[in-house]
Amino acid sequence: MPPIPTATEPLLRVRDLRVSFRMDEGTVRAVDGVSFDVFPSQVVGIVGESGCGKSVTMRAILQLIDPPGRITGGEIIYRHGATPIDLARLPPRGRMIRALRGAEIALIPQEPMAAFSPVHTVGSQIIEAIMLHERQDSRPVGRDQARAMTVELFRDVGISMAEQRIDAYSWQLSGGLRQRAMIAMALSCKPRLLIADEPTTAIDVTTQAQILGLLRALQHKYQTAIIFITHDLGVIAQMANYVVVMYLGRVMEEGPVDEIFHAPMHPYTRALLRSIPSLQTEVRAALPVIAGTLPHPFNRPPGCPFHPRCEDILPEHCATAVPALHSPGPRRAVSCFLHSDLAEPA
C-alpha cells in the first residue's frame, strides 16, 4: 500500500451529513451524522453491512438521492479549483452538479449490466460522455477524436481488440469485460474523485483479482482519489489506505487501514474482524459471532446504534446517549463511550 498522501487540504470534506427517507411508516434516518475526509490521490474504503448507509452517502455526494429521500443536514465540501463548494446545497438538477458528475466525480456502480444502456453500444455511451465534458483548446471534442480517445481508454483498462469491442453492446460482453468498460467510462473524463460502489461484488473471484489489480494500477497512473465501498473486508485491506467503518447510518470508527485491522478501537470493528472466516482460521470450528441481527430501519435502537449487540456495553451510557465521533489522534476517529464521554447533543 502506498503511504497516506500528506496533502494538507482534503479534496472532499464530509461533515455531519444526514439523509432521511420519509415513508408512510415513519422516517428512516439512512445517514445519521457521517463525517470523513478524502485527500487527493487517497483510497478511502467505506465498509459496512447492508443498511449501514454507505451507498446512500455516495449518492448524496453526487446529489442522486431520489424522493422520498432528502439531505437534511451537514455539508459536503468539494474543493473545485480554488473555490470550495458545498455539494449538499446544490440543486440536484442544476448546472453545477451536472458539470461535476462524470467530469470531476465519477461513479463505478455495482451492476455494470444495469448501468449500461442495452440499446446503445458501450462505445457510443462513453463517446457521448467525452463529447459532453471534455474540452480541447477550450473547444468541445469532436466525435472522431472522442472515438479515438475511447479506443485508447479500452486499451488502458486491458480490453483486447479495443476497436471491435467499442461497437459491442453491453450484453455481448462478459461480466469482467463489462466492468472494465464501466471503469473506462468512469475514467473517460479524468475525474479527480472516483466512487466505486461494490465494483467487484457481482463478479467471480479470479476476475475480481484482475479488476482490483487494474484499479490499483490506474489509481497509481492517474493519481485519482477513490472512495471504495464494499462489505468485503479482504477487498478493503488490499485496496484502501484509509478506512471508514459504518453501522446503521453512523461512522463507528475511521483511520489508516493498518490501524483499523491491527488496532481496531470500536467493539463493532473488532467483532466484524473476528467473525469472518478466512483462509487462515481453524477448519470446522465455530466462528465467533456478533449476537443478534441488524435492526430494521424503522426500529433504530436509541443511544449507540450498536449497543444491543455490543459485548462491551456500558449500560448506564450506551442505551441512552449517542456517542459523538471523537478524534483520539490525527487521522483517527471513533464513536464509542469506551474511548470518550463525548455525546451527541440530544
Partner: protein, 334 residues
C-alpha cells in the same frame, strides 16, 4: 467399509443449443461433463468453482430437479440398499424426496410471502402426510427452536424477518422432513458478514446433532474451507481437484485451485497478495479449449496440455487432481 451415502459416477448434463426457425440443435453446452465423487454419511463435501462451472447444475441433478444426460447417482437408502436416482421415475423418487432436501441461496425468493412461517415450514410435513394441524404445529415449534427462532413467530409472514432469520426459516423447512442429505446451494452468500457466521455455526451444530450429510455448494473459498471435510473444485463442467480440506488448502495440486486461492483478497493490509493474478477468462462450456480446459490460462502449460486431456488421478491417498503435472508441481497458495 460401509457404502457411501451418495456416489456420483460419470455425471453428465448437456443443454442443447438450438438455432434458426426450426430450432435445429447445433451444439451442446456441457454444463456437467463426467463428474464423479462420493459423500460419506455425516460428511460435508464442499463444491466450489466460479459462475458457469456446473456446480449448481450438479446439485440440481442430484435432487433430480433436472434430469441428467448420463451417469449414475447412487444413493444408499435407510435400509442400506443402493438405488440409482438418475434412472428412477418420478413415482419411484417420491418417497426418497424427504431424504434429500435443499437450502437455497436467496432467503427472499425462496419463501412464499403469502404464507406464514407455520405454513412455509409446515408444508413439507403436510405433503408428506402429516394431516393433523396440531401435529404439524408441534413439529414446527420444535423445528423453529432447533434453528434458533422463537416459536411465537410462527404466525408471522416472511417479510417481518431479516435475511439471516429468513435463512434460518429456510433451514427449518429443509429439515422438516428429517432428511439425511442436505444440498445447500450458496446458503450464506446473500447474507451480511455478521450474520453469515451465525448461519455457518448453526449448520455445523445441526450437522453434529442430527447426523446430517451436506453437499455445500459455494463460490467463497474461505466459507467452504470453514465448513467442509473435503473439497471438490470444478472448472468448465469438470472436477479438477478433490481432496480433504486441510490437504487441498495447504498443498493444492491443480494450478486452477492454487490460482483460485491466491485470488481471494486477504483481510490483512500487511499481507500483500496481488501476485499471480490469473489472466484471461473462463472459457465457454459450449466450446471448451482442446486438451486440458485450463491450459490457455495456466502458467505451467506445455505442449502436452494442448493435445492431451488429463484424467482425474490420485496424487496422494484421497487427493485427486486433473493435471498432467499434478505430482511434480509445487504450488504456492499465498
Amino acid at each position: 467399509m460401509i457404502a457411501p451415502l451418495l456416489e456420483v459416477r460419470g455425471l453428465r448434463k448437456y443443454f442443447p443449443l438450438a438455432k434458426g426457425l426450426l430450432r435445429r440443435v447445433t451444439g451442446y453446452v456441457r454444463a456437467v461433463d463426467d463428474v464423479s465423487f462420493t459423500i460419506q454419511e455425516g460428511e460435508t463435501l464442499g463444491l466450489v468453482g466460479e459462475s458457469g462451472c456446473g456446480k449448481t447444475t450438479t446439485s440440481r441433478c442430484i435432487l433430480r430437479a433436472i434430469d441428467p444426460t448420463g451417469g449414475e447417482i447412487l444413493y444408499r437408502t435407510r435400509d442400506d440398499t443402493v438405488v440409482d436416482l438418475a434412472q428412477m421415475s418420478a413415482g419411484q423418487l417420491g418417497p426418497l424426496r424427504k431424504d434429500i432436501q435443499m437450502i437455497f441461496q436467496d432467503p427472499f425468493g425462496s419463501l412464499n410471502p403469502r404464507m406464514t412461517l407455520f405454513d412455509n415450514v409446515g408444508e413439507p410435513l403436510l405433503v408428506n402426510g402429516m394431516r393433523r394441524r396440531q401435529d404439524r404445529m408441534d413439529h414446527v415449534v420444535e423445528l423453529l427452536r432447533l434453528v434458533g427462532l422463537r416459536p411465537e413467530f410462527m404466525h408471522r409472514f416472511p417479510h417481518a424477518f431479516s435475511g439471516g432469520q429468513r435463512q434460518r426459516i429456510g433451514i427449518a423447512r429443509a429439515l422438516a422432513t428429517g432428511p439425511r442429505l442436505v444440498v445447500a446451494d450458496e446458503p450464506v452468500s446473500a447474507l451480511d458478514v455478521s450474520v453469515q457466521a451465525q448461519v455457518l455455526n448453526l449448520l455445523l451444530e445441526l450437522q453434529s446433532r442430527l447426523r446430517l450429510t451436506f453437499l455445500f455448494v459455494a463460490h467463497d473459498l474461505s466459507v467452504v474451507r470453514h465448513i467442509s471435510d473435503r473439497v471438490a473444485v470444478m472448472y468448465v463442467g469438470q472436477l479438477v481437484e478433490l481432496a480433504p480440506t486441510a490437504a487441498i488448502f495447504s498443498r493444492p495440486r491443480h494450478p486452477y485451485t492454487a490460482a483460485l486461492m491466491r485470488a481471494v483478497p486477504v483481510p490483512d493490509p500487511r499481507v500483500v497478495g496481488d501476485d499471480g493474478i490469473l489472466p484471461g477468462e473462463v472459457p465457454s462450456p459450449a466450446s471448451p479449449p482442446s486438451g486440458c480446459y485450463f491450459h490457455p490460462r495456466c502458467t505451467f502449460a506445455e505442449e502436452r496440455c494442448r493435445r492431451e486431456t488429463p484424467v482425474l488421478q490420485e496424487v496422494t491417498p484421497g487427493h485427486f487432481a486433473r493435471c498432467h503435472f499434478a505430482a511434480e508441481l509445487e504450488l504456492g497458495v499465498g
